[in-house]
Symmetry: C3
Subunit: 367 residues, 3 copies
Amino acid sequence: NGWIQFRHHGFSRDVSSWTSMAGNTHSIRNRNAFDIERGRLVFSGYAKDPRLTYFLQLDGDTDGGHAVDFFDYWWAWDFSDDFQIQFGKRKVTASRQWLLGARSTRLTERPMACDFFRPDRTLGIFANGKFGETGRYELMVGNGYSTSNLPDSATDNNLTFAATSYFDIGGKYGSQIVDFQPSDDPVARLGHSMVYSPITEGTNGLPLGEADFTRLTDGTQLTANGALAPGVTVSAYKIYLYSVDFAAKYRGWSFNSEVYLRWIEQLEANGALPTYNLYQHGYFVEGGHFVIPRTLEWNVRYSQINGRFGNSGEVAVGLNWFPRKSTDMKLSIDFTNVVSSALQNTSSDILVGDDGRLIRAQIQTEF
Amino acid sequence: NGWIQFRHHGFSRDVSSWTSMAGNTHSIRNRNAFDIERGRLVFSGYAKDPRLTYFLQLDGDTDGGHAVDFFDYWWAWDFSDDFQIQFGKRKVTASRQWLLGARSTRLTERPMACDFFRPDRTLGIFANGKFGETGRYELMVGNGYSTSNLPDSATDNNLTFAATSYFDIGGKYGSQIVDFQPSDDPVARLGHSMVYSPITEGTNGLPLGEADFTRLTDGTQLTANGALAPGVTVSAYKIYLYSVDFAAKYRGWSFNSEVYLRWIEQLEANGALPTYNLYQHGYFVEGGHFVIPRTLEWNVRYSQINGRFGNSGEVAVGLNWFPRKSTDMKLSIDFTNVVSSALQNTSSDILVGDDGRLIRAQIQTEF
Amino acid sequence: NGWIQFRHHGFSRDVSSWTSMAGNTHSIRNRNAFDIERGRLVFSGYAKDPRLTYFLQLDGDTDGGHAVDFFDYWWAWDFSDDFQIQFGKRKVTASRQWLLGARSTRLTERPMACDFFRPDRTLGIFANGKFGETGRYELMVGNGYSTSNLPDSATDNNLTFAATSYFDIGGKYGSQIVDFQPSDDPVARLGHSMVYSPITEGTNGLPLGEADFTRLTDGTQLTANGALAPGVTVSAYKIYLYSVDFAAKYRGWSFNSEVYLRWIEQLEANGALPTYNLYQHGYFVEGGHFVIPRTLEWNVRYSQINGRFGNSGEVAVGLNWFPRKSTDMKLSIDFTNVVSSALQNTSSDILVGDDGRLIRAQIQTEF
């Protein structure tokens, strides 16, 4: 089976260009476009033995070159009902909001702070299991923090480690963060996540492709020449991410939030740097209410990214309509005020330097 | 299910090079190659509600890098038997010959004039419905004229509009342009199409990737530096396309034709231009006859592209053999004399500047 | 259905860089990474007529950009039980070890000598049939020796020809080279293969992309500027490959080997060359034994590449564990000592210039 997000987005800029710490200026364009933001085909089942399951997801979004990827591809072995090992390509197991499926976000996309701090997919070995009555944990060792579609030649020889866990209070929270099926009693979920990812330079003293994703809080790529000091390029560093998440829902109302703390340590470069470590932090808070149960919901969001070189933020409001009183079809519209985006993310239609008003309308269906 | 076109083509050149209006010279090579010209996998059906249907087509032709694309991907909602809205990626709704499936062309490929003037696929919203007894129309608003696999960063913030309609005379024409199932009475189809597509420059005053497809009638890319005046680059323009199509069939004989008129208006550039608008036109006529009904057919074609900077043409003859007396398997061979091609199209094995003889042999099968 | 190879590999270098004959120096890095080395989805069956069969294999390995390819795609027509014609994209029919499915290699990968000398996939027409009681042959005419994912613009207008045949002694050898299902009587297979592939230059006198794959036995690309003489670039040549293969198995023991002879003749270049033909040769020998029938097997391998400009070699030992007493799930680990690799192959995790120790651990499953 599969699913799709068909979207129109419009962006009205307040500024016409953005200049990075490295001195490069990019123009900010008004935008007005249709996209298939996510088009997924899923093959899954078990193979020969019911304890051996597989999951293959192809993706064909239209932001990039429209080519099809093996997006997720993993095999799992169930040692017991409570413990499973997975091999393959999956999300790095950190950040509750990142691990939430893109079909189930409150607005059309994840919050800006999540997309800025979160890791990406990677290849590795994953373990997950249960603890207590409602607790779950996931552990991972994999290639890198953000090496999703990179060839081996662009990744270093260090591995990345991640762990996450949560437990529910007042009953099972379920897979929807919103209160789609109205809860008679309040339920809540509390969790936290961490990642450790050392990133080394190439043999030529320059950063590998893997190191490119990290940005300063003004949006400058950390490995851009001149990002921290004129003429100097950062080539290696270590990332520590820690996040705490909380969600609650009751009688059609729901609320969720995550706080991100990221330390970038032991910076190495081909020259003197003004600092050898960076501390970045951010958070989002979201909430909403089903005006018509299982049908119509309004939502709000506030999100912030803070650090030494700049701050970004967004405020958003949106509506979701489930015409079939089921989560398999969802029409959404949201309006976001973006301030000095440090995030570059074509999926969420927020690009680095964006300052302005963004409107997204989306049809999401499953088959 | 799926289908495939496996093809051998040979090209024998009459000229060894081609020089564009911008002064660039490309060599013309003799060619001799096997290709999977189109390899398609189709997933379609309805989702949860019979009024909600989806269509996903993957393509893996071997002309480019052999990668797989989400070629067409749309969802449709049937408001009634007579009216449907589609969301996603589809062909821009203009030119009868372009909207005809590539499996159903008379020779192995579409005529040169069609491929030169036609739009491409785009993302957008499409509506189609019926009028009168045999009439159908399609309307579209989408990202662009030729933005098929382009990322948003290469497309502008203008939308493109297209419309097409036709009606049949003497009975239902059916999906085959050739008279595969011999008609006892003459039937005909008359239609027309139009596209309006404004294309703006990037913020740096240079053309965006989206603007690259348009060519002068000698084959020069309109946005090439020096195409219209030395040192000057066209960065923005508006396209108006209008076409009229006619087809008829009777007792194994069939004929079809389409005339294309294209106005390229309000040219903008980084210097003075000798002209601020261009008018291009072309047409094709095709016909054929089943010597053995449902089995063996001969065909001929003549096609022309005309305009201020040059003229192109082709004359072709071909044979189709349907060994199973069914359209699900077709063996074709055709011979084309190409004169000064203004078209660059790896699918039809006709490249810009080609002047010579082209032979194509093809096996087409469905499963 | 489909299958996957999930692998971890580590490489510990003995040298820190490699310098080609052309004078370019590349660094050799230690490596430590997880990969989905091969992730395949297969669609096959017959279409309308039981004599018309198709085979479509999508591949999504993670060595390159993680994009999905139409890896193999062919249609076949069975003229009789003993003769079949195939159209499409397949392996060039030469080298027993290359034609062996990647699922069935003795260690996690093919021997270095095979990957150095073997052709790749191509588009073309293939015939296969039987002779005698156990003999089989395959013939091919196709686009090129190594044109797997190349566009037509990078390939020349010469065709490539290949042929292979084998017969079994003492009974049917079967599809597994190892003695998975223990043989009570000794069986053996003897075969040979040949390829003829002329490769011409582009119209500009420079080599086409198609010519790039051939390497000198030190690892230098034959078409690199300066490979054979300072400042001179080889632009055209003809390849003749001949190989002989032998395999035998008995009571859980098995042995197989292939010898490769390759002549590169009629070298053309844009300057004087010290030689106008090259002769390269190599071989591998492999063997193993099931300690526990259908479950646990140890294996060894020795492989060599020899020629005028250098020699490469590998010695490897490995274990295979079939936990389900079936070939549909295989866990493998092998250790290879690599000496002066002339091979560049991201699939086997052996890169040009590698000198050191390689360890690969792999899980292979089918569904």
